[in-house]
Subunit: 363 residues, 2 copies
């Protein structure tokens, strides 16, 4: 066990955005919220998975919707705890700890915010080891945990409780509610006991995020480039170096859907790269051929300082390094690929692990 | 106090559709459900408003969405009681009776179904004295009652509980949920005590519906035309006689929006009539000039037998009588017109009572 400090939030936000693969929300806002809550309420206990009692309740805390909207429609600050307390009151059970459902600038920091405000520990783990765009795309769901009862809260004070027949209906109904709430909501769902969390969660995510963030921030202080350090920590690959030549985004479905185009520089001069996303980066095409695809991670880094760039911050002219990282092994099982593989996202390709794709391309 | 019998359901369904002003759902399905439930569980106690104890709880039961869809997406029969029981369990209070929120083929019979299944009495009243398309359009809302907590249930077994900051947000969120559930849901909302019901409900609606239905059915047995009897009971006016020449409907918003055109016959030969609707008939134009408008009632009757024709059953070639009836006086107040007057529905006209419009036209 250790404690998460205000300073850790600087690291966590940046590292989480690397694993957020373009989605998971802007790191800035979540960081501010978490820092403020720790300042006011004290450091937050970070529990290793093996420190979690089997029979205690864990209630995740998260944000849903198009993260870009959160920058304009600021939370009032009460929604995350309202959502968690509402699920306690609805189920008649108290939370022992909270946990992150996904890695990402917002969804790694919001649970720390909630933990600080409510005086709860947070588990050093998450349900994805990265970010994904839809509710059932968590290891908990693959392992048979029900997403409902689920709570959605908005910044105006509206609350919706969902009880559904399966996790796909949670996604359908909570998405439509979140769109009606103004494209974002704070949520609480996947109520689990400690035993289930230990069986299904991806351990060490928070620590890994902090470590990645620390390397990036410390490298920047020393005027060093942190990309190699990120690749070492995540067992990742350098896929492309280039500049952004086009970005298309569409918010109408409650997701940020779109694509970005890049033109190669230096060793990639003459090559092109296309990145398609739905909140998160889904597939990367090097000279029109897939070089990384879901569920493996694809992240765009600022070429100068290695800072991760989320899809909502991609802009014409940015010089970037695009990296790919292998996903947690559960996503490469038949059940995992059915839920988050390229065919789920309507790509007519069979999944190939990034290690193999990279070997073929001799990157 | 009296009891509602299987036979009363024949009358109630038809009479309710007259006050349903084209909406409120198809009378056939609700009638079947209510008859079956009474057969299995016994007659349902019908309480006069003055028989209702001040401190007892009344929980309305209703259907939401595009009624046309209910004919293809049949309820499983459990949703109405599930919705009512869920609101009891959520609020921790037991219902003493149920009540209808609106007059209409489905929404007058579904509460009887729910009452029969749960062994509850039903109050002889409703919240509109007619049908309206949106959640806040009930006298309860005008009187300051909160629509939430509200429950929406679908036939698959999904349930949504709404807690909102106002009744407009209940409309927004429950409408989007109902559309996602497949365009219809069974709902429970506007939990009130008896005192509030007595202060705000429109009394005698169920009895009036039964009386109207009885006149129509008995006239048909005697090969007589019941239109004059309907006008007598409802203080209504004969607005037009003609045949349907065109019907346009759009279901995409979760409402049945559209218009029907009619060509005059007999005394109206050479004249035309246009009827615009959003689930319910909103405005009637005789030779392009308004002759009746919300909140007054406009209903299309079959010219041969006086049976009401809901908007989803309007068809090319039907020969009809269009009648208009004055609404309950609460709808003619400033607050009432702000919620359900012609300007709320985007018509650029000031409300004029049907009695005056009819006088001008010398119908």
């Amino acid at each position: 066990m250790r404690y998460l400090t205000v300073n850790d939030m600087e690291y966590l936000a940046v590292g989480a955005a690397v694993l957020g693969t373009g989605g998971g929300g802007d790191p800035y806002l979540g960081k501010l919220m978490a820092k403020q809550a720790i300042k006011e309420n004290g450091d937050v206990k970070l529990l290793d998975l093996n420190e979690l009692p089997d029979d205690k309740l864990v209630i995740p805390s998260a944000m849903m919707g198009a993260p870009a909207v959160m920058l304009e429609k600021l939370p009032n600050g009460k929604e995350p705890e309202t959502a968690l307390r509402a699920i306690e009151s609805y189920t008649g059970k108290k939370a022992f700890a909270t946990i992150s459902v996904e890695a990402g600038g917002l969804n790694s920091t919001i649970p720390v915010y909630t933990a600080a405000r409510l005086g709860l520990p947070i588990v050093d783990a998450d349900g994805m080891g990265r970010a994904f765009p839809e509710i059932p795309m968590v290891t908990f769901s693959i392992g048979g945990v029900r997403a409902s009862p689920m709570i959605c809260c908005d910044e105006k004070g509206n609350m919706v409780i969902l009880e559904t027949i399966d996790n796909a209906w949670v996604e359908t109904l909570s998405r439509t509610v979140t769109v009606a709430m103004g494209l974002s909501s704070m949520i609480s769902l996947y109520v689990m006991d400690g035993k289930t969390v230990k069986r299904l969660a991806i351990g060490g995510t928070i620590s890994l995020e902090i470590e990645i963030g620390k390397r990036i921030i410390e490298s920047n202080r020393k005027k060093l480039n942190p990309v190699d350090a990120i690749l070492e920590l995540t067992k990742g690959f350098r896929l492309f170096e280039g500049k952004v030549t086009d970005v298309q985004r569409d918010l109408t479905t409650g997701f940020v859907r779109g694509k970005a185009k890049f033109e190669g520089i230096d060793s990639h001069k003459g090559s092109s790269f296309i990145l398609e996303f739905q909140n998160e980066n889904l597939i990367g095409l090097l000279d029109d051929r897939p070089v990384a695809m879901v569920p493996d991670l694809i992240t765009v880094l600022d070429r100068e300082n290695g800072n991760p760039i989320t899809t909502e911050h991609l802009k014409y002219g940015q010089r970037v390094v695009i990296i790919g990282m292998p996903c947690a092994s559960i996503w490469r099982t038949k059940e995992g690929l059915a839920q988050v593989g390229p065919r789920y996202f309507k790509y007519d390709v069979d999944y190939m692990p990034i290690e193999e794709l990279v070997k073929r391309k001799r990157l």
